[in-house]
Symmetry: C2
Amino acid sequence: MNTTQRADPQTSADRRRRELLEAADRVVLRDGPHASMNAIAAEAGITKPILYRHFGDKGGLYAALAVRHTDALLASLRAALDAPAERRQRVEATLDTYLAAIEARPQVYRFLMHPADGGTAPGDQSEQGFDVGRHSAPLLRRMGEELAQVIEERLDVGPGTQQLARVWGHGIVGMMHAAGDWWLGERPCPREELVRSLADLLWGRLAEAGDKAGGPGF
Amino acid sequence: MNTTQRADPQTSADRRRRELLEAADRVVLRDGPHASMNAIAAEAGITKPILYRHFGDKGGLYAALAVRHTDALLASLRAALDAPAERRQRVEATLDTYLAAIEARPQVYRFLMHPADGGTAPGDQSEQGFDVGRHSAPLLRRMGEELAQVIEERLDVGPGTQQLARVWGHGIVGMMHAAGDWWLGERPCPREELVRSLADLLWGRLAEAGDKAGGPGF
DNA sequence: GACTCGGGGTTACCGCAAGTAACATGCACG
DNA sequence: CGTGCATGTTACTTGCGGTAACCCCGAGTC
């Protein structure tokens, strides 16, 4: 270890990396996900090649950015999920936490939801074009897995619980995401109402509801 | 009207437009959503400016492409939604139709799920950067609205039905989407099982399930 | 027949962003 | 001193979206 003026390169590089991420964050949040590497470099007071040395390519930088925000959001979701209360209460709290987050910082949300887009590099010929479905943003996947784990740990639905938990985890997250996205765009109702409606859906109110008179029933 | 050799320009332009869309479809399905305008033009046997004359810009072309596929998928979903059967049956049929579609043609699916991305043109200064949430692919929105309408028409859940229907419509579509995306990537189970699990979720099995012994409950 | 007119087409270009050499500088260590 | 290494820069290449300017040819008109 070097204790003179020159800090050891590991720590120094890490600090620099964090600074660069801060700058990138500012730019991306200001200009949207299409911010250019030049712009980010300028904001950080340096030039492009340094960014590339640190993050490889644009995808790398964005991935690093996404991890930061994703971690933060996941942490608060976990807190809501772990609160000591009735199940329904906790589900509502989790929904509300997520919605409050995307409401408070839609730019972050929009950035995080951008699909990875870095799967197939130019000139890939191992697979013809792209075959897999894997399209969703990493955030959605991570939230889905996280929720799946919580469900599996705490719920007992007989045999096949594990499988069911994963399906439900991803399904619920998707429900939350799509409804939230729509709500954020149209703002048709206050947040609590949305939360209640979604929880009602999960509580089977759709299945129980009566048919409207006259129609063939739903 | 001109009945000589020269067809009237309207019809002719429409035919040409369809041909161009066919070509674009082939390329996009082969190369992914990043297919270049040059490549598409080449596939159609012409050059770029013609594409721009017909579709304005890349977004226009992609929108036209998306509308075609979206219409097709929506039509088959509507059929499943309208089949004469029990509610649960119909829900399962609809889920299965969607999943079968994305399973059969993941490239189309992936293309359709790409967010519009054309909202904020370069140089937009009416809003600072981007504020709204509106991120999801048009397909998701349209499916959500469609389902919402069906729910509202056929279900009676007392006052506020309309609002509830829209929330549920978008929520259910999102659930279907996220679960389908995950399933398509990992293939952890056969399709019918996924369908059953999702329907179970909508039928409130999560809410009814018992806590696992020992934990604080979920 | 000469002359314009308009649709379909092309070449050649602009601007811009990602990514990459290749070169320059400062600081520690032998 | 010279070597190594991290840090930084300028200047370039490549590829894409988008456009301007020109071209060709069949049709109608005088």
